[in-house]
Symmetry: C2
Subunit: 339 residues, 2 copies
C-alpha cells in the first residue's frame, strides 16, 4: 500500500493540495465543513505528516540524541532511563547512538546530527577520543551539547559529572584502613577525564597515607575482555601481588572474581576488591562486592534537564550549568577486614 | 554561529543556489572550475547537507529503528550489539527507542516512524501490547518489520525467536531430575508470546513427568521490582513452599537471592533456582546461577540481516524468513543436587 499523502487526500476530496494542507494546519482560510471532511478522511486513511517536511518548516525535530560509548554497561542503561524520564515529560523522542569506544564512529555520528535531525545532544565521549574538532563543529552549528560522565574539558558547555577524584580517594583510603598496602588500580584509558581523576584521587590517597606507590600500581586495561582476563591473571600471579584492587570499570568485576576462583585466592581474606559499579547483582555476588555506586539515573536526569532548559529558554547560559553529583561508597563483604 | 547552507555558499561565491546545489551533486551542467570552488568552500565552512531535505529527495534515510521494551536488561543490550554489528557493515545508523513496557508509548513511537524517518524497523513488543493495529499500520505504510524475541504472531513478517517452549521444558525437567516436586514459574505477562510458550513448556514437562501442578504454580509478577520482592517473599514464606523456582525474567534473580538470604533459605540445599538470563555475573553469584542463556547477540544479528535483505533485494519475501535460534541450559551450583 502506498503511503497516504496530502496529494491523495486532495484528489479524493476534489480539493487543491494547498487547501488540504491548510485544513490540516487548522488555518482560518478554510471553512469548518471542509476542515471536518479533510480531518475525517485523514484519520480514516491513517495519514501521517511527513516528519522531514515538517522539520524543514519548523526547525524543531522534537528529538534529542544520546551518544554513548557502549550499551552493555549498567551505568549507561541507568543514565538513559534518567534521560528518558525527562524527555517523556517534555514529549520528546530520544535517539540512542553507540560509538563502541571508536572515535571514528563518534565523528561519523556527529556529522550525521548536523542540520536539523535533532535539537540537542547528550554525550559521553569514547575512550579513544583525544581530538575534539568534531564536537566543536556540533557546537559551532548551534546544537546545544551537554556532556555527562565522560566530558571534554575544552568545550565550554554544561557538564554533569560525579566526584571521581573524591570517590577514588575514598575507596583507596578505605582499602588502606582495611590493611591493604599494595593496591592496584585497574584503569581503562589514559586520556578520559574520569580515568585521570580516578588515578589522581588514588595517588593522592596513597601519598596522604604515606603508602609507597610506583607506576605499576596503575594498570591500563583494554576494551577486550579476554585480554583483560589474561592481564588480571598475570597481575594476581606475580610475586609482589597486590593485596587490594580498585576496578574503575564495572565489567572488570567478573574477570577479577573468576581469576581469584581459579587461583584459589580468597576475597576478602587474601585480596580485597572494590569496583566503580552499578551492578544490580553486587549484593548477591560471592562475596558481595564493595562498590562505588554512581548516581547514574540522577546524572542522566540532570543532563537532560539542562539540555531542555537550553532548548526552551532564550539567552540561557548553558556553560554555567555544570554540576557534580556525588557517588557513594557501599561497603560489602569483599573489603571486610575479617571473614 | 549560523549553520552553513547552500544559500550562504551561493552568496559568498556569487552563484545561484541551484548552481551550488548542482555542483555539490557533481552535475554535468556545471564546469569543473566552479565545482572545485564550491567544494573547496563547502569543506572550509564544514557544510553538511540537510538530512531531511536529502531524505525527501531520495526516500532513503540510511537509518533503521530498534524498538525495545527496556534497556536495563542484558538480553536487549546484547541484541543491540548484534544489530549494530550488521548495521555498521552496511553503513546504516541505528536508532534505539524504548517503550518502557507501555503500549501507548509504543503506539506513539510507531506513528513517529511513518513517512521516511527510517527505512525499516526491528521490534520486540511491550508486555502490555495486546492490540496490534499500530504495527499493522507500519506494515501497510510499506516499512519492513522484523520481530525479535517478543513477536506478534498475527503480522505476516519475519520473526527471530529462541526455542522458548523447549528451553522451559528442559529447565523444568532438569529441576525434576534434581528432585524438585513443587516448582514455581515466575512469569511477567499473560499476553506475551514468549511468556505463553515458557508456561506451556513448563506445564508439558510437569505432565510428562507426572508431577501434579495447579494454577498457583505459575506466578504472575509485575514490572515493579519492589512489588516483586514482596511477592517472592510471600511465595517463599508460605507453608507449601516451592522447592524449585524458574524465573522467566533476568531481573528477578537479585530479588530471589536477597529473599533467600533474608529467610536463611539455602540455595541449592532448600530451593533450587534457574533463570532465563544473560547476566555476565551468573558464574560469580553466591551460589553460581544455573541459566537458560539466550543467544541474544546472534538473534539481534539475524534480525538485522533479514531486515537488510528486505531493504536491498526486490521481490524479497520477508514473511518466509522466520528463524529460531536455540537457547542453552548452563547448569551451575544453584541447581546442584548436593552441595
Amino acid at each position: 500500500m502506498e503511503p497516504v499523502n496530502i496529494k491523495k487526500i486532495a484528489q479524493i476530496l476534489n480539493l487543491s493540495i494547498s487547501a488540504v494542507s491548510k485544513a490540516l494546519r487548522d488555518s482560518h482560510d478554510i471553512g469548518k465543513e471542509t476542515k471536518d471532511k479533510v480531518i475525517a478522511l485523514a484519520k480514516e486513511l491513517n495519514y501521517q505528516p511527513n516528519p522531514y517536511a515538517s522539520s524543514l518548516r519548523k526547525h524543531k525535530s522534537k528529538t534529542i540524541a544520546v551518544i554513548i560509548p557502549e550499551i552493555a554497561n549498567n551505568y549507561f542503561t541507568l543514565a538513559i532511563n534518567g534521560i528518558e524520564s525527562i524527555a517523556q515529560e517534555k514529549n520528546y523522542h530520544v535517539l540512542i547512538y553507540l560509538t563502541h569506544e571508536d572515535v571514528n564512529k563518534e565523528i561519523a555520528l556527529t556529522k550525521y546530527l548536523h542540520g536539523g535531525r535533532v535539537d540537542g545532544v547528550l554525550i559521553s565521549v569514547s575512550s579513544t577520543t583525544t581530538d575534539y574538532t568534531h564536537l566543536h563543529h556540533l557546537e559551532e552549528n548551534g546544537l546545544p551539547i551537554v556532556f555527562f560522565d565522560r566530558v571534554c574539558e575544552e568545550i565550554d558547555t554544561a557538564k554533569v559529572t560525579t566526584d571521581d577524584y573524591e570517590s577514588s580517594y575514598k575507596a583507596t583510603c578505605h582499602l588502606i584502613d582495611c590493611g591493604c598496602r599494595r593496591i592496584a588500580l585497574l584503569s581503562v584509558s589514559n586520556s578520559l577525564s574520569i580515568s585521570s581523576k580516578r588515578a589522581e584521587g588514588f595517588r593522592q590517597a596513597m601519598a596522604d597515607n604515606k603508602v609507597k606507590t610506583n607506576l605499576s600500581d596503575i594498570i591500563l586495561c583494554s576494551n577486550d575482555e579476554r585480554k583483560n582476563y589474561t592481564l588480571i591473571k598475570k597481575l594476581l600471579s606475580r610475586k609482589q601481588k597486590p593485596d587490594g584492587i580498585i576496578a574503575t570499570v564495572e565489567k572488570f568485576t567478573t574477570n577479577i572474581y573468576l581469576v581469584c576462583q581459579l587461583l584459589k585466592i580468597n576475597i576478602p581474606g587474601d585480596r580485597k576488591v572494590v569496583c566503580f559499579s552499578n551492578l544490580p547483582t553486587a549484593a548477591i555476588l560471592n562475596p558481595p562486592l564493595t562498590t562505588i555506586t554512581q548516581p547514574a539515573f540522577e546524572m542522566g536526569k540532570a543532563a537532560a534537564t539542562i539540555l531542555f532548559k537550553a532548548l526552551e529558554k532564550r539567552n540561557f547560559s548553558i556553560n554555567k550549568e555544570s554540576i557534580v553529583i556525588p557517588s557513594m561508597l557501599v561497603v560489602r563483604k569483599s573489603t571486610m577486614q575479617k571473614e
